[in-house]
């Protein structure tokens, strides 16, 4: 313990050196901006800025890139809340309650909650990282395909309650998301799958962002236009430092879900292949399941913003663990960080901790510092972000459309994806008018590929015996929790229906 504290102290001092500290501040600001743009996430930020890091020593470079990663996680929440478009898959769950809060004029509350929850999530996970890195790395190794699949089942179970009242339509939405996720290459057999009309754009599959930006960007905009008949009034937000301090004090409303989300996020993040997206979704689902007023989720509950934000920041720290100790990226962004480390001549792996302690502890120290820097910068920027919402609608709308178009183009750099995004936006809007929930489809397309792959890998390794999922202790535990999670909302719904039998769901539009 004493040894760890000594190393950590040295790491913190290293992170506070002038060059390193300025790299962290710069990284956080850049990350915040990249993350706030729909379509661009930490992956783009880190990939684009990687070459710059050849100019500084590796420790400063990794701190810079880690700060970008961190800042982008916060940034994702900004576009989710103010524009209603998830900037990255990790911020999807933030839209569910962040957007309604912003629309009802409480954007500052949502943004503060996101910032504070992210800070808590980040801090808890760095502490866990500091104390339990080696044993957790061992645990991560125990996760094979069967465990990954049951984790996916668990993730689906946590958001079973997210759909609407119409069960066939909710299931349809989940299924279409899963089918869309299957387009592209089947990695198990190496064959192209469902390439419609032999268009090569389908070969890379349907990027989650294409669907999310289409539905939440374009679809949501069309929906807003219809609801308001084009007469959208600008939100009148007055914001002072006092307000923000008051918002920060509201932390007690969501401290419980935030802590739960942080711990959960960290553990899910440490598992290779899982990463921050399932972590944030599971955290949201759990917050809703265990809430005293689950029906307010999706209509603007602050806990619904705090839970996923705490989890995705915690997971982003967590996903550095398999990268550093095993040399395996836990997320696409860490994959690029890993490439960077190799280019700088550092070999991530079981020996990195002992052979390059100053690098590892410098990175850990920088995470503590980056966390605090991000919180401060974020809170300072909140009034500016809230201003976006006061723009006249006829200026905000075309700007959002343009952000959607370039955001749909940037990840794969094909017009094919932009067209698909437009199509999804219009179809999503038409479906939404008929009370088809769209969120489950977006979630399914994120988790679908991992679910299918891990299921088939497990079945191949057990030679077709499905019992593999129940024979392994970790896998069985996940499945049992999943079953419990499915039964809880079903029971709650049943109870509520019994209590209020007469009230009927209202028709929309």
């Amino acid at each position: 313990m004493g040894e760890i504290l000594g190393l950590l102290g040295a790491g913190l001092l290293q992170a506070l050196e002038p060059l390193n500290f300025s790299m962290i501040v710069l990284g956080v600001i850049l990350g915040l901006l990249v993350g706030a743009l729909p379509g661009l996430g930490s992956v783009n930020g880190v990939a684009i800025l990687l070459p710059i890091t050849f100019l500084v020593p590796p420790t400063a470079a990794i701190m810079f890139l880690a700060a970008i990663y961190y800042g982008a996680m916060y940034g994702g929440a900004i576009s989710s809340i103010t524009l209603g478009i998830p900037g990255a898959s990790t911020a999807v769950a933030t839209v569910f309650d962040g957007r309604p809060l912003a629309v009802s004029g409480k954007a500052d509350k949502a943004l503060t909650a996101a910032a504070v929850a992210s800070f808590i999530g980040g801090t808890i996970s760095v502490i866990l990282f500091t104390l339990f890195a080696p044993p957790l790395a061992e645990f991560a190794l125990k996760f094979g395909p069967a465990e990954e699949f049951s984790l996916m089942v668990l993730a689906f179970a946590t958001f079973i309650g997210l759909g609407g009242d119409d069960i066939p339509k909710t299931i349809f939405s989940i299924l279409i998301g899963l089918v869309l996720a299957a387009i592209g290459l089947d990695i198990i057999s190496g064959q192209p799958r469902m390439i419609f009309g032999d268009i090569s754009g389908f070969m890379h599959g349907i990027n989650f962002l294409v669907l999310a930006i289409g539905i939440y960007g374009i679809g949501e905009m069309l929906w807003t236009l219809e609801q308001t008949k084009g007469q959208v009034t600008a939100h009148n937000v007055k914001l002072s430092l006092k307000e923000i301090i008051k918002d920060i004090k509201d932390v007690k409303e969501y401290i419980g879900t935030t802590t739960l989300g942080s711990v959960l996020g960290y553990f899910v993040g440490t598992l290779p292949a899982a990463g921050a997206t399932p972590a944030s979704l599971m955290s949201y689902g759990l917050a809703k399941t265990f809430s005293k007023e689950p029906e307010t989720f999706g209509t603007g509950n602050v806990s619904g913003v705090a839970a996923p934000e705490a989890a995705n920041n915690a997971a982003s720290t967590g996903s550095m663990l398999p990268m550093i100790t095993l040399g395996i990226p836990g997320s696409p962004t860490t994959a690029i960080l890993l490439g960077g480390m190799i280019i700088w001549g550092l070999r991530p792996g079981p020996l990195l901790f002992t052979e390059h302690p100053d690098f590892v502890w410098g990175l850990i120290g920088s995470l503590y510092v980056a966390n605090l820097v991000t919180l401060v910068i974020n809170l300072l920027f909140i009034p500016l972000f809230v201003k976006i919402l006061t723009l006249p609608f006829t200026i905000l709308a075309p700007t959002i459309y343009i952000l959607c178009v370039v955001g749909g183009y940037a990840p794969t750099q094909t017009m094919h994806d932009v067209w698909l995004m437009f199509l999804f936006g219009v179809v999503g809007y038409l479906l939404r008018k008929l009370d088809y929930p769209v969120a489950p489809a977006v979630l399914a397309i994120v988790l679908g590929p991992l679910a299918e792959r891990s299921m088939r890998q497990s079945l191949i390794s057990s030679q077709g015996d499905p019992l593999i999922f129940f024979e392994r202790p970790i896998s069985l535990t996940c499945i049992l929790i999943a079953v419990a999670l499915i039964l809880v909302p079903v029971y709650q719904k049943y109870k509520r229906r019994k209590n209020a039998n007469k009230s009927e769901p209202e028709a929309e539009s």
Partner: protein, 168 residues
């Protein structure tokens, strides 16, 4: 078209799409392979089958008038909605089509001009400032800072001198 009819039409269209997806995924092996688990087409095939089932259930619920939509005789899209939503969707459609012809940047200008001046009825000064300013901002951000080239199509040569300035 009323919401009621729209619900019926949508369920039928989605059912047909599900069948289409089933046919498409049946191009690959959709059976259980002994000792290996499901074939490569099985996952999308059976999920599409599930989609079809959901559509049939929605149809059943429509016939039995269970869903609120199946009892709703309001217009699915009022004339006003068609105009408002159609303008936006049409403008984006134009933006995408024009990008293939004259590249993104000039299409953006036309799009902004239309939206801000014609739809928004803002002053010429503001319109011009945004029409020029936003594409320039996007250019600086994407091409210069993020190094992501956006499509330029035939207007590409116009950008060579800008590259000369940027990278010299």
């Amino acid at each position: 078209m009323t919401v009621k009819t729209a619900e019926l039409v949508m369920a039928i269209v989605l059912a047909l799409c599900s069948i289409g997806l089933m046919i498409k995924s049946a191009e690959l092996n959709i059976t259980w392979i002994e000792g290996r688990g499901p074939g490569s087409g099985a996952w999308p095939f059976w999920l599409s089958a599930g989609m079809l089932l959901c559509c049939l259930l929605t149809l059943y619920r429509w016939i039995r008038r269970i869903t609120p939509e199946s009892r709703n005789t309001d217009l699915y899209m009022t004339r006003e909605t068609v105009v408002i939503v159609g303008t936006s969707a049409g403008a984006i459609l134009f933006l995408l089509a024009a990008t293939h012809l004259i590249g993104l940047y000039f299409s953006l200008m036309l799009f902004l001009l239309f939206y801000i001046k014609y739809v928004g009825r803002h002053s010429w000064a503001l319109t011009m400032a945004l029409t020029i300013g936003i594409p320039v901002f996007i250019f600086c951000l994407f091409e210069w800072a993020l190094k992501i080239p956006l499509p330029k199509s035939i207007t590409e040569p116009l950008f060579y001198p800008i590259y000369d300035l940027m990278y010299s």
